[in-house]
């Protein structure tokens, strides 16, 4: 059995720990904003994919300008 190729762009494990700690800390402060059925399940996508991608895009634009 051959192992499947790794998922491209998958964040390292420590980023999951960081985003979890941030999520819990934020949840204790702004409960209803973070602990809901929309933000909660999408938190990983937002913090580990969308925000880094946006950040990279902005940085690329700034560098090219």
């Amino acid at each position: 059995m051959t192992s499947s190729p790794p998922v491209e762009g998958l964040p390292r494990a420590h980023w999951f720990v960081v985003t979890f700690v941030v999520y819990v800390a934020l949840a204790l402060v702004v409960k209803s904003t973070v602990l809901n059925w929309i933000i909660g399940p999408l938190w990983l996508l937002i913090t580990l994919f969308l925000v880094p991608n946006l950040f990279r895009r902005v940085r690329r634009r700034v560098v090219s300008d």
Binding site: M1, S3, S4, P6, V7, E8, G9, L10, F20, Y23, V24, A27, L28, K31, S32, V34, L35, W37, G40, P41, L42, W43, L44, L45, L48, F49
Partner: protein, 297 residues
């Protein structure tokens, strides 16, 4: 009511249905009973009665609610994976929630008797934050932790990227490829969506537990029927025999109703339904669970 248990259940269920049901449909099913009603529960005069009773929206926590929803999905989309996923997810929610003091009416409308094992108190009358503090100070929080352990021990493989690639996507290729195309999400983005429900369960369990221990300063009460410092919300004062008789009658009538519906029109809907190419359904219960299953190695 159960909290993070409903997120963890999704992965445990998926492990047992494999490619025979869509994961996103299972998620929809487990969230369905509270999806349209939860925000109104805390504003109700009698939250427990409104949430789980009749009159009220307690019918959302009955087996027939998931049954009707699943049949509607099968009729409209022809997707067996989605119909089964919603049905199993919603039924899991109903069976999970009978552990609190308000219970559920599994066989509504054939029986409106709440079924409960009174493991912890339904505390919605305390408001959302009070409810959270009570839940995570009682066996409710233990119930969430139990489902977390169940996933980590018996369904750990569902959290691996290879599982997402080999089972989750093939079980529902249309929706995942739609998300890929429409939202321009590469595989890693889709995987983070898949993991998101587990993350949310773990996050809310941790955050609410810490809130209960700090801000709310709630006393831990890990006894059957706790916490002791919250008033009960039992919806029925019927005795055990009465509950057993009513529930048994309701269950028999419900089973007969399902059988009749199957004979009259569901079998036809099921036969014209479609499956993803990877799915091979066995007879009876094997249409949804276990082998004989897919031809995959």
């Amino acid at each position: 009511m159960s909290w993070a248990a409903h997120e963890f259940e999704n992965y445990f269920i998926q492990k047992h249905v494999d490619v025979k049901a869509s994961f996103l449909a299972v998620v929809l099913g487990t969230q369905l009973p509270d999806l349209f009603t939860k925000s109104f529960v805390y504003a109700a005069d009698n939250p427990a009665k409104f949430h789980r009773g009749w009159p009220g929206v307690g019918f959302t926590h009955s087996l027939i609610f998931g049954f009707v929803f699943a049949i509607s999905i099968l009729a409209v989309t022809k997707s067996r994976s989605w119909a089964l996923g919603v049905l199993i997810g919603q039924w899991a929610h109903v069976l999970t929630d009978f552990a609190d003091s308000a219970g559920t009416m599994p066989f509504f409308p054939f029986s409106v008797e709440p079924v409960t094992i009174d493991m912890w108190k339904h505390a919605a009358a305390e408001g959302r934050y009070g409810d959270a503090a009570a839940y995570y100070s009682s066996l409710g929080g233990v119930w969430d932790a139990f489902w977390l352990v169940m996933v980590l021990v018996f369904a750990r493989s569902t959290l691996r990227p290879e599982y997402f690639r080999s089972t989750i996507v093939p079980a529902d290729p249309k929706v995942w490829s739609w998300l890929h195309r429409r939202l321009r999400l590469p595989e890693v983005g889709l995987l983070l969506v898949y993991w998101g429900f587990f993350f949310y369960g773990l996050g809310r369990l941790t955050a609410w537990f810490l809130y209960a221990r700090t801000d709310a300063d709630a006393t831990l009460s890990l006894v059957w029927g706790g916490p002791e410092w919250v008033d009960g919300n039992d919806l029925s004062d019927a005795g055990l025999v009465e509950v057993l008789v009513r529930t048994t009658v309701g269950g028999v009538l419900f089973a007969a109703f399902v059988w009749l519906c199957w004979k009259v029109f569901i079998k036809r809907l099921w036969d014209r339904g479609v499956d993803p190419p990877v799915v091979e359904r066995g007879p009876g219960i094997h249409a949804a669970f276990g082998p004989p299953s897919s031809p995959r190695s």
